[in-house]
């Protein structure tokens, strides 16, 4: 194929060559000298062309062989030119005869053969073209000198004797050398493209043919001479073709082929690139400053539930969250030719209203004048990551808060070095700072000396020892000890410690949390004190006191007075409902009917009297104070019940009432008595005054004496009346106090 290809490509040239060869051959019919001159000049021109092409295309030549030939052929052509000029009949170099052109011929062919042998050897070597030119020039000069000046070049043609044996053998040697050059060439054939190799070999074969022809000729104008020259032209032309092919045509082909390959590669690369872009889960887009999208990948379009076609060529701006708009605007404004790339995280509002977080890496593209042309962006949805991060942050914050609230701080202890590693929170707990303590690390003995309460140091030391000796990976200890903070305050700490073991199961580190429990401890103590106070108060009450449940109304606690008043032991009362303390079921029902309406209305229950029953069955009057108890959520959880045995009071009241009633009766009688005495007195005074005016003075005197006595009684009565009224008003003496009537004891005091 390639041969056909080559032939087709050079068909014109081959045709021209054929025509030229024919014309050249025909010129011999007119003048052999013309023929020779034309043929030689033609081969010289070809050789010059060979040099020019080789020299100028040397950078494109695959190997250095043809360049070597090109340079060599220039000097061969030089010798051939002299040969042509020296040819018989040219009459330029007179006095040399036919020997001179033959010598020059042999010199030229020798140089040609040497070139063709040497060239394959140079294929793999670096060729210093200029140096080679100098070498050839030197050889050329030596050859010329040996022929023209020194005359030492062997004779090749002797007039009358013909070709000298030297000439003939030289031709054979040259032919052999040429054959050898073919061999060399063949051995290095992989350095050539096949058709080039063929052309060169054909050229050498033509040269060999030419040489063989010359060994036959008798006359320089002979037929074999003609064939030899034509073959020489062919030989040169073939080298020329080879050079044109590999130095000009092929490089261009190569360039175009490379171009095509590059194009193909580019296309495939673009396809791969496109596939990569489309396979990305990240959003990729390009857009103009006005928002018109030039490109979006599938991922980007799908994110907005659209197709790329719907987006490209259109102005589309996702709705930026209002809180982020200013920041996004400033971000894009910050991109400049000096700072064209940056990234940003912001929220967008999806078409459905959902708020999502995005990360974008944006590149602003500017023209040479620094004008913004477009943006190229790569982004992704980071909502989940953001939420996870926020959740993590929230957790961390909550943990920090929890630790703050709980007055807790972490620490670590390296067992080998005996050094604690603390942190700011820890130091804050100890009312100090890392700056003050000289860093976050502190030897154990320093910590113990500086912060642990002297009385508790052994507790800490024992615990450290335990942790040091444990082989239990789940080792966890809890101790409490006091510390002395930097500000001198003594605080209570609870310390929880765990260990980290090495591969051999030996503890290498302990770590733990210290918690300041001073307030809790104080609160606990306060609570205990309050509890003790409550219990002692409860116990010391003279009234029977009960702590009752809400439903059922079970006795949870009873005091000593309750035992004394009701006659039951505490064990007999606690755990039972209160019915057994009442006279009967009906009384219990009345009790509840009285109490619960107050509870339902949320009113406090005034003290009230109620008859209750002792263990021995005796019924006795009581005064009850019921206070509901409520739980943290406001639910009614029980009662505090105080029961006072008011038997003595009731008895006293009864006696008092009796006395008052008697007093009242007496007073009433006194008042009546006074009136009853005054009435007859009034009658006597009246009658005497009316009927015996003469005696009225004496009677009146007596009457007034009686009246004065009664008046004394009056005074006593008035005062008693006043006292009575006072007692009534302020002490309710003589009032009835019915059972179940609320009774405010304050009025009595």
């Amino acid at each position: 194929m390639y041969r056909n290809g080559w032939l087709r490509a050079h068909l014109g040239s081959v045709g021209v060559l054929g025509v030229f060869l024919l014309i050249t051959a025909l010129t011999s019919l007119y003048s052999y000298l013309l023929f020779h001159t034309t043929a030689e000049l033609f081969s010289i021109i070809i050789a010059g062309a060979i040099f020019i092409i080789a020299w100028n295309s040397r950078e494109y030549l695959d190997n250095q062989y043809l360049l070597f030939l090109g340079i060599g052929y220039l000097f061969i052509a030089g010798i051939d030119l002299v040969h042509t000029l020296a040819y018989s009949g040219m009459n330029i170099f007179t006095g040399y005869g036919a020997n001179l052109p033959t010598q020059l011929w042999i010199a030229g062919r020798s140089l040609e053969a040497a070139t063709l042998i040497a060239a394959p050897l140079m294929i793999r070597r670096r060729l210093y073209a200029r140096l080679l030119g100098v070498v050839y020039a030197a050889i050329f000069a030596l050859l010329m000198a040996s022929i023209f000046w020194w005359g030492i070049f062997p004779d090749c043609y002797i007039e009358g004797a013909g070709l000298t044996p030297f000439k003939i053998y030289a031709e054979y040697v040259i032919s052999g050398a040429l054959a050898l050059s073919i061999l060399f060439l063949w051995q290095r054939r992989e350095a050539f493209e096949r058709d080039i190799l063929d052309l060169v070999i054909l050229s050498i074969i033509a040269t060999i043919g030419s040489e063989i022809a010359f060994t036959f000729y008798v006359s320089v104008y002979g037929f074999s001479n003609l064939v030899g020259h034509l073959l020489k032209i062919i030989s040169f032309a073939l080298i020329y073709f080879a050079l044109v092919e590999s130095g000009i045509r092929r490089p261009y082909d190569l360039i175009f082929r490379n171009l095509k390959q590059n194009e193909e590669e580019l296309r495939r690369s673009e396809e791969r690139f496109h596939a990569i872009i489309e396979d990305q889960t990240e959003f990729i887009c390009r857009f103009l400053p006005d928002g018109t999208h030039l490109f979006v990948n599938e991922a980007y379009a799908a994110y907005f539930d659209m197709s790329p076609e719907e987006l490209v060529g259109r102005s589309f701006r996702p709705t930026i969250h209002p809180d982020d708009r200013e920041r996004v605007r400033a971000f894009f404004a910050s991109l400049s030719p000096d700072h064209p790339v940056d990234s940003i995280e912001h929220r967008i509002i999806m078409p459905g209203g959902e708020v999502r977080w995005q990360w974008w890496n944006d590149r602003a593209i500017f023209d040479d004048q620094g004008h913004l042309i477009e943006y190229q962006s790569v982004g992704r949805d980071i909502t989940d990551r953001k939420q996870a991060r926020e959740a993590l942050e929230e957790n961390r914050r909550q943990l920090e808060e929890a630790m703050d609230l709980a007055h807790m701080a972490r620490w670590e202890f390296d067992i080998a070095s005996g050094i604690f590693t603390f942190n700011d929170r820890f130091y804050a707990l100890y009312a100090t700072t890392a700056g003050r303590e000289g860093g976050y690390q502190m030897p154990a003995e320093v910590y113990a000396r500086e912060f642990v309460h002297p009385d508790d140091r052994h507790v800490v030391a024992d615990e450290v020892e335990k942790a040091r000796e444990t082989r239990d990976p789940r080792f966890m200890s809890r101790i409490e000890h006091r510390i002395i903070r930097r500000d001198g305050e003594v605080r209570s700490m609870v310390v929880r410690t765990g260990v980290s073991l090495d591969e051999a199961g030996r503890p290498v580190k302990t770590h733990g949390v210290n918690q300041d429990i001073t307030e809790r401890r104080e609160a606990e103590e306060e609570l205990q004190r309050e509890k003790d106070l409550f219990e002692s108060t409860f116990e010391s009450l003279r009234d029977a006191a009960f702590v009752l449940g809400a439903d059922p109304v079970v006795i949870r606690m009873a005091n000593a007075a309750a035992e004394k008043i009701f006659g039951y032991s505490r064990d007999e009362m606690v755990g039972r409902t209160t019915g057994f303390l009442h006279v009967d079921e009906a009384a219990l029902a009345r009790f509840h009917e009285h109490v619960y309406p107050f509870l339902e209305r949320g009113e406090s229950i005034p003290r009230f009297r109620f008859t209750m029953k002792r263990k021995d069955g005796t019924v006795f009057p009581t005064e009850n104070a019921m206070t509901p108890l409520y739980g943290p959520e406001g639910a009614h959880t029980g009662w505090i019940s105080l029961v006072r045995d008011i038997t003595p009071e009731v008895e006293a009241e009864r006696r008092e009432e009796q006395a008052m009633r008697q007093l009242e009766e007496n007073m009433e009688q006194l008042a009546t008595l006074n009136d009853q005495i005054r009435n007859p007195l009034a009658v006597i005074v009246g009658l005497v005054d009316m009927d015996c005016p003469g005696t009225i003075g004496a009677v009146m005197k007596q009457a007034e004496r009686i009246n004065d006595i009664i008046t004394l009684l009056d005074a006593g009565w008035v005062r008693s009346e006043k006292t009575w009224e006072f007692l009534h008003r302020h002490y309710h003496l003589g009032d009835e106090t019915p059972e179940l009537q609320g009774k405010d004891t304050e009025d009595r005091e």
Partner: protein, 203 residues
């Protein structure tokens, strides 16, 4: 027309006082129980009622309460005539409902003084109020003036009576006896108000 209705469950007293008052020229009716008194008052309106307190079954205070609750007799003047000593509480409770107070036993002259002074006082009040009415003083002011005139007199009498019984102290100021402090306050207030009204009534 009856001038004076005497209510007392003691018939001798009724008889004696009837004679005394009749001799003074008054038309006098006597009844011996509260019930009779109320029924009589319902039919005939006297110029003055003399009322005993210690009566059975209805005592004098009850009669007074019923009178004051009854439109037909609520403004009939009442002078208490009793042998029972008053309490400060009685004074405070009834002092503004009665027009005089007098203790038994009393001589004819004393009774005549009491009744005469009452009517003279009544006439004086009548004269002053008539004059005031003519000058256009409003009826409420006049009524208040009349009530205060009686109240001041009665409270003064009652306090004097209590003072005599309890002994000592300054009868004008109520002395230093704490049990009479309320009466003194009431009296002072009434006098002060009466002083104000006197200028209105007198013009």
């Amino acid at each position: 027309m009856t001038d004076i209705l005497l209510v007392d469950d003691n018939p001798d007293i009724c008889r004696i006082y009837h004679r005394m008052l009749s001799k003074m020229g008054y038309a006098v009716e006597t009844v011996e129980s509260g019930a009779e008194a109320l029924s009589g008052l319902a039919e005939d309106r006297p110029a003055l009622v003399l009322l005993d307190l210690m009566m059975e079954p209805m005592d004098g205070w009850e009669v007074l309460r019923r009178m004051r609750a009854d439109d037909r007799m609520q403004d009939v003047p009442v002078i208490i005539l009793t042998g029972k000593m008053l309490t400060p509480d009685d004074v405070l409770r009834y002092g503004d409902q009665i027009h005089g107070f007098v203790m038994k036993p009393l001589r004819r002259a004393d009774l005549e003084d009491v009744v005469r002074e009452f009517f003279l006082e009544a006439e004086d009040i009548e004269a002053r109020t008539r004059n005031a009415r003519e000058r256009g003083v409003d009826e409420a002011t006049i009524r208040e003036y009349v009530a205060l005139r009686h109240q001041v007199r009665v409270l003064t009498e009652m306090r004097g009576c209590l003072d005599r019984v309890l002994g000592g102290g300054d009868p004008d100021t109520g002395g230093d006896r704490p049990e009479l402090a309320d009466i003194r306050t009431r009296l002072d207030d009434a006098k002060a108000r009466l002083g104000e009204l006197e200028t209105v009534i007198a013009g």
